[in-house]
């Protein structure tokens, strides 16, 4: 039954003087918003279908289109706001759990925006990255506690496997299935050209992408989809996914309609069957259990690859991180509550988990206090939006950042947050061939490469400004940060002083 209570969220505004009825908008809209009225010779819109993905706006050759938020309003009510009212209508209509995509859009604090970065003036020189060498390379993995020498006095190589990154950013997990073949190819190609890593997510590794193995992190999650010996061998590192920032505490669900063709083969599950990743790993109920999986995977790959354990940022994250560090993992990845998803229950996405900034600071502090910080590297994600977010994360104690939403934006995503429909007009979150082909991976990889190159330049500028010439030197250097607009408690957790102090 159509939901009569809900008025369309957006309006399609078409400038009649500019519209030439080329019908590009009609051909490009998978939601069927636009159509051509043969009789009147004009384009018409069905606004109820519009998700504001901006595909038509971007491609309209005469700039005749814009999508605006409808100003049709409910009677104002500070408590019962429009979104809340609409959600109630939707649920009253469907009886179902509300689904959403991408990251938490609620106006909760973004601590990155309350943290400011230092710069050198007079008493210590800043560094010009255009003239001076600047090191953005980082190595992820357990670092030895001491230098060891052999009988002959020579250094002993006691270094466990490391990941080498040309800059402290990686593309975080997005499965083939949740995103398209071409999106995956773009990420893989870009990671390879950049000397960083992308992550398979829990979708297995398409046979075409084994060539990108040296720049691939292969994921093992609770559904164990697509996991086999060759898969583990193919990657540069293995990530055990315990949780995801967008939906901590629950599993994943890729509907059977998306399990087609290569997606089915790559996941090693029958076509059309729903891919349900359980909420927990059924073999992990303790740090000891986790340790078993970590070592099983290391054993399976001859201890040649670092193992990452990824968790969502939740309330006792510092204690959890301490446990993970003791489980034998080489890298801990923490995903904050603003992290994206291809589909999650709205209530979970918007209400579960904690900000990554606080989680990162808490974990770094705790691991230092326990003297085990060098046993693991810390990678953080969950809405890293810019080079300055990266720099702030490093200064708070991260070794590197995971980005996904930013990467998808580079590929064309306009954050319409309807990935769950599978009708992505940008060819990213879809498996429909006619939509998948809209993302030419050559162009996609180029855009990702451009984005990361730009960030790398900005990171070097910011480092140089602080008089610092390497990521290593900045890591955990919270003196380089100051807070504004924060409570004492927030500053305490972040371990930074207030601006002016």
């Amino acid at each position: 039954m159509a939901d009569l209570f809900i008025y369309p969220e957006f309006e399609v505004v078409r400038n009649k003087d500019r519209c030439i009825a080329c019908r590009v908008c009609e051909r490009q809209c998978s939601n069927g918003v636009h159509s051509y009225d043969e009789e009147c010779g004009v384009m018409v819109s069905d606004e109820a279908r519009c998700v504001d993905c901006q595909r038509c706006v971007s491609l309209c050759p005469t700039r005749a289109l814009k999508i605006v938020k409808s100003d049709c309003t409910f009677r104002e009510n500070a408590n019962w706001q429009a979104d809340t009212i609409k959600e109630i209508y939707k649920q009253a209509n469907s009886g179902g759990v509300l689904l959403s995509s991408m990251g938490n859009p609620k106006p909760l604090p973004v601590y990155w925006d309350r943290i400011l970065i230092n710069a050198s003036q007079v008493t210590n020189p800043s560094i010009d990255p255009l003239r001076e060498p600047m090191e953005t390379r980082v190595f992820l993995g357990k670092k030895p506690r001491a230098i060891e020498r052999g009988e002959d006095g020579k250094l002993k190589d006691n270094l466990t496997p490391q990941l080498e990154l040309s800059m402290p950013v990686m593309f975080s997990a997005m499965s083939y299935g949740s995103i398209s073949y071409n999106a995956h190819k773009s990420l893989a190609e870009a990671a390879s050209r950049l000397g960083i890593y992308y992550n398979t997510g829990e979708g297995g590794l398409h046979e075409d992408f084994y060539v990108y193995g040296p720049n691939t992190v292969v994921q093992v999650a609770s559904g164990r989809f697509g996991v086999h010996a060759d898969y583990l061998d193919a990657g540069a590192a293995i990530e055990i996914k315990m949780g995801q920032g967008a939906k901590p505490g629950i599993g994943g669900h890729l509907p059977g309609t998306k399990i087609v063709g290569d997606v089915s083969r790559t996941r090693m599950i029958p076509e059309g069957s729903d891919a349900i990743s359980p909420a927990p790993h059924h073999d992990i109920y303790s740090i000891e259990d986790l340790r078993q999986l970590v070592y099983s995977l290391k054993e399976a790959t001859q201890y040649k690859k670092p193992v990452i354990v990824k968790v969502a940022a939740v309330h006792n994250i510092a204690a959890i991180a301490s446990g993970i560090a003791r489980s034998g993992a080489d890298i801990i990845a923490i995903d904050g509550f603003r992290g994206g998803t291809g589909a999650a229950p709205t209530r979970i996405r918007d209400n579960v988990g904690i900000p990554i900034e606080l989680a990162l600071a808490a974990c770094d502090t705790r691991l230092r206090e326990e003297g085990i910080r060098n046993d693991v590297s810390l990678v953080v994600g969950g809405s890293i939006r810019s080079a300055s977010d990266v720099v702030k994360a490093i200064a708070l104690g991260a070794d590197a950042c995971y980005i996904a939403t930013a990467a998808l934006l580079a590929l064309g995503c306009h954050l319409c947050r309807t990935c769950q429909t599978g009708l992505c007009n940008w060819g990213i979150a879809t498996q429909r061939p006619e939509l998948v082909k809209r993302l030419n991976p050559e162009l996609g990889a180029e855009r990702l490469y451009n984005l990361m190159t730009a960030w790398r330049h900005e990171i070097m500028e910011l480092l140089g400004g602080m008089g610092i010439n390497s990521i290593e030197t900045l890591r955990g250097n919270r003196l380089m940060l100051r807070g504004v607009n924060m409570t004492e408690k927030e500053l305490e957790i972040l371990g930074i002083s207030h601006a002016g102090e």
Binding site: I20, L59, P61, N440
Partner: protein
């Protein structure tokens, strides 16, 4: 010499190339003014190859162009790797349409023929179809 290369795999069938072409060759500064409410005479056409395949066809600027050899009026010429048309000479006999193996020559609004001239004459620089292609289905390559 550079040519417009067609990459079938990435064509979305959006038809933007046709509109960008017609606009670039309209001599007008505003696309709406150039194209609104008028029949479209693009020099590139998007074709449906079935099975979800589409592609845009424009003059291939053949190395031994049969259209030039067949032109009864000298309107078509092959210079520096490009087949160009001098509309002042064209008498609209359509012999070129009869011989072009790609169907890349068509009639213009005035009854002469028109074809892709790589935007060499209209001052837009690189071919407008290529510049406006959203997915790299048309590229301008040596």
């Amino acid at each position: 010499m550079k040519r417009v290369v067609v990459n079938e795999k990435w064509c979305l069938g959006c038809h933007l190339c046709e509109y960008n072409c017609a606009f670039a060759n309209s001599g007008l500064k505003d696309m709406a003014k150039a194209l609104k409410g008028k029949p479209l005479f693009p020099r590139i056409r998007v074709l449906d190859g079935g099975d979800g395949i589409t592609f845009a066809v424009s003059c291939r600027h053949c190395t031994d162009p049969i259209c030039v050899r067949s032109c009864i009026s000298g309107a078509l010429a092959f210079r520096d790797g490009a087949v160009t048309i001098d509309k002042e000479r064209c008498v609209g006999c359509f012999t070129c349409i009869l011989v072009c193996p790609y169907g890349a020559i068509s009639r213009d609004a005035d009854g002469a023929v028109q074809k892709c001239e790589l935007c060499l004459k209209n001052g837009t620089g690189a071919p407008a179809c290529v510049r406006g292609c959203p997915n790299g289905a048309l590229t301008y390559e040596e």
